[in-house]
Amino acid sequence: MASIANAGTMRRGGSRNWALSAMLAVIVVVVNLPIITMVINSFKTTDQILAGNDLLPRTLTFANYHYITERTPFWTYFANSFLVAIGATLLSIFAAALAGYALSRFAYPLIRGYSSILLMVQMFPLILALIPLFILFRNLGLVNTRLSVILLYSVVNLPFATWMFRAYFDAIPRELEEAAMIDGATRLQAFFRVVLRLSGPGVAAVTIFSFLFNYNEYLIASIFLRDDAKMTIPVGIQMFMQQYQTDWGSLMAAATLAMLPAFVFFLLVQRYMVYGAVAGAVKG
């Protein structure tokens, strides 16, 4: 069992660090093996994949990528995913920033109680919301519209987005907005011009986290988006997996492309990961 106790001595004894580093390199490869093989296989033909002789292909082929571009509505799914994710992110960021500010600056009992409501939202089983909402949205003609999914996603994002905003706003001194208010700004103006501007990195982190969740979500989208023209990537790939179970090449190319945006956005916020994961969970 390792402990920090030895961190000081280990910095001097460099050889053990390299051993540990090598061990972690192996762990990283083993853990990510499914992802690595998926990416490699996406550049093989399905026959090569099934023959399975070499892990690394002798020749790279883009045939799978051509196929999903020419023969499947993959890029439509892609665009839908972005539209839905961006819409839901904007809506939840707007609502969560205001609520996070209320939680940060006004310690009234009712406002504090709102944090408990958020915890309830956090653990509310989605399926329970989906049954009545499917019937309601169908009667309102909202099934197969992006709006239905955007509304649901924005609420799923609310708890952690609000908690993160509150944590960021807590770190900004109240004196700054009070100074702005003495200069004649209203509190809302002070919030938008001073507090929100100073929490720029925080706003960016919350935005990208929300986007990541929205982009990755499957269950809600599968119930409300039933037309090829409206489906998001997870729903589209699931359909594809059902229909062409054995076309591994195309499936892996589609999954690899689907992973890329999540991967890029994750790299942008990975420094805030601890914050996002733990802040809401632990502080409540």
């Binding site: 093989t37 915890l119 049954i131 591994w248 601890v274 632990v282």
Partner: protein
């Protein structure tokens, strides 16, 4: 938006002192969130409960049947199985992801070349879309040609039909869920480890405590509080998980990997029995509420 504008108007010219309850601005700040929660959570909660008291379908309301939908559940073998599977799934996932997450956090907590890269690379299973992880794993465990069966073939074992038999399907779903969950445990445990006062370790070192002793008497008690919170959170997420079992097996073979959420989904959307589906969804809500209540109590205690 208009409500905020009026709240803003009202706020103008008021004295700076904030009298709790009389200033409408803080409450109007919550308004957009509350409207969304009202539509997406409160409305389904009330209407869903009414559905669970009726024998309706997706197309017609149905008649009021009282609590009959609930009373039938204990006698249904698929419900009992789903309850059991939800419990096994949650327990195995919490234990597995915590053990792996804590182990990796302890390794990552030490100085080494490339530590930042490893920390990021080990988070990947958590951040990729569920459908991507399922596609990649399906190939790993695919019959005959999959990577795991090729490896097993080298040592003369197998092939194992992971998604063909009930036991192996349950094993596979749990394994993939642990794979998708451990990074969260790892990053949270790492944060907890880094917040431990280093003086404690210095003191233990001076007192001549060994590594295991230090771990048991300092590290573990120091991260116990957050660990309990993490276990409860992960239990909630496991009970609530639909995507991992559904995308991998759709609940099969037969109904071996059906949890409560999948069962409620199937009753509602494939068997068109909204009453039973809603009742099952409410049972899962009650289970989750108990877990959330434990979480709140725990948090209240750790804040003191």
């Amino acid at each position: 938006m208009s409500t905020q504008a009026t709240a803003l108007e009202r706020y103008r010219g008021q004295p700076a002192a904030k009298r709790p309850g009389h200033d409408p601005l803080p409450y109007s700040l919550l308004l957009p969130s509350l409207l969304l929660i009202g539509l997406i959570n409160v409305y389904p909660f009330i209407v869903g409960f009414l559905y669970s008291l009726k024998d309706g379908s997706l197309l017609k309301q149905g008649d009021f049947v009282g609590l009959a939908n609930y009373f039938q559940l204990p006698a249904m073998s698929d419900f009992r199985h789903a309850l059991l599977f939800s419990a096994i799934f949650a327990i195995c996932n919490v234990a597995g992801s915590y053990a792996i997450g804590l182990g990796l956090a302890l390794l990552l907590n030490q100085e080494m070349p490339g530590r930042g890269f490893y920390r990021v690379a080990l988070l990947l299973p958590w951040i990729i879309p569920s459908i991507v992880s399922i596609v990649s794993w399906r190939w790993m465990i695919a019959d005959q040609n999959g990577l795991i069966n090729q490896a097993l073939d080298l040592v003369g074992v197998g092939p194992i039909f992971f998604l063909g038999s009930e036991r192996w399907a349950i094993f596979s779903v749990i394994m993939i869920k642990i794979w998708r969950s451990f990074p969260f445990m790892m990053i949270s445990c790492l944060a907890a480890l880094q917040s431990i006062d280093r003086d404690l370790y210095e003191a233990a070192h001076i007192d001549g405590a060994g590594r295991w002793q230090t771990f048991r008497d300092i590290t573990l008690p120091q991260i116990a509080g957050i660990s309990v919170v993490l276990w409860i959170l992960m239990t909630i997420w496991s009970v609530n998980d639909f995507e991992t079992p559904w995308l991998l097996t759709q609940g099969g073979p037969s109904n071996s990997t059906e949890n409560l959420i999948i069962l409620a989904y199937k009753y509602t959307f494939t068997r068109n029995d909204v009453g039973t589906g809603s009742a099952i969804a409410f049972v899962s809500l009650i289970i989750l509420m108990v877990l959330a209540w434990m979480l709140l109590r725990r948090q209240a205690r750790s804040e003191v």
